[in-house]
Structures are given as C-alpha cells and as structure tokens.
Amino acid sequence: MKTDRPVNLNVMSMRFPMTAIVSILHRLSGVLLFFMIPCLLWLLWYSLSSQANFNHMKHFMDYFWLRFAAWAFVSALLLHVVAGVRHLLMDMHIADSLGGGRFAAWLVIIVSAVFIIAMGVYILFGFNHAIW
C-alpha cells in the first residue's frame, strides 16, 4: 500500500448530499427523543399527581431554558416524524430513486424547517396563558 498518498480527513471539505443530512438528522433526533423519555414520563406523572403540582407546572414556561427544552423536543419530534414518513413512502417505492430521494429529502428539510421556526416563534416568544 502506498503510504505517501494524499489523505483528506477534513470534514469541512466534504460535501454531504441532502439525503445523508436528513438520514443523520433522523438518527440524531431519535437519540435526543430517547433521552427525553424520562423527562416526558416525569412531566406526565407530575401533571397527574396533584392539583398543586398541575398548577405549578403552568409556571414552567416562565423559564426561558425550559421553553427552549420544550422547543428542542417539539423540533426533534417533528423532524423525526417527517423524516420517518419519507422512510415509509420509500418502503412503498415512492421517491426511492436517486432524484426522487433527493427531492423528498429537501422536502423533509423544508417542511420541518417551516414547522420548527413556527413552533420556535410560538413557544419561545409567543406562548403565554392567554394563547393556550
């Protein structure tokens, strides 16, 4: 084996196709959701445990970092579901060609981005007890 061959391990110089980006985002969001399971179970328990805890929970959204966590969860869930729908469609041989796959990957990103930005505006800035 030639040892003086050029080696390129600079990740920044690699250009990932959109299909690869959607694939890794699907995985990342899945792992994030896995680690959020105990938080969600705790929230469900807390909301059902007593009147006082239920009332206290309404004030969680007063903390910006908790709003951010809620937005991160909703974003991960949205992206995971939308990218998952693409998988299910490909199982049915819809958009499973190279061009179709690329188009669907772009569609996943655009649809998710619109929802994520909208939810960001709603949860981070717009949310208050008058709205919900």
Binding site: V31, F34, I37, S47, Q51, V81, I131
Partner: protein, 116 residues
C-alpha cells in the same frame, strides 16, 4: 423466532410502532390544542378513561420497542468495541424496562412514592 428473521421482525415492528406512534402523537397534540386553559380535573378525568388508558399503554410499549430498535441500530453502527457495546445495550434495555413499568404506574394511576 430464528436469528435469521430477526431483521425482518425488527423492520416490521419499527414501521408498525412508527405509524401508531405518529397517530397517537397527532391525536394527543390535537387534544391539547382543543383544550386551552386545561383544568386538573379535566386532565386527570381524561387519563382515567379506558379508551385513553389502553391506547396510551399500547403507545408506551410500542414507542419503547421502537426506541430499542433505533438505539440498537445506532449502537451497532457507532460503538465498535464489543464489550462497550454490550454494556451500553444492557444499560439502555434496563432503562427502557424501567420506563415501561414507571409509565404503566403513571397511566394506570398506581400510587408512586419517591422515598422510603
């Protein structure tokens, strides 16, 4: 089921749980959207109904199974040291089992104490 058909079984469960999970999540957020200014009595009453409890328990089982298949795949792809991979698999599996029993307790309204 034999080892050779495990991949197919995982594939099928991943899809069934995905469709069920997506439907549950959409209906859940629809409920929240249609119930602004939710009261505690309404919220607990909702989770005391058979037709909410049983689909929620099914959701719990399917989503934890879905998570296990996903995490198994991720660990198999990225953790190349066999011992470390098995240790992480056991930890995640035990965590998911704990979440299952905890979730059953919450949904079935079984009293839960955090201290001795």
């Amino acid at each position: 089921m034999s080892q050779s058909s495990r991949g197919l079984k995982d594939w099928a469960i991943q899809r069934v749980s995905a469709v069920y999970g997506a439907a549950y999540v959409i209906l859940f957020f629809a409920y929240l959207a249609f119930h602004p200014h939710l009261h505690y009595q309404v919220w607990t009453g909702f989770f005391h109904v058979f037709w909410v409890q049983v689909p929620s328990l099914i959701f719990l089982v399917l989503i934890l199974w879905h998570a296990w298949i996903g995490m198994w795949t991720v660990l198999t792809d990225y953790v190349k040291i066999p011992v470390l991979r098995i240790i992480l698999q056991v930890i995640f599996l035990l965590a998911l089992l704990a979440y299952f029993f905890w979730g059953v307790q919450i949904i079935w309204n079984i009293h839960l104490a955090w201290a001795f």
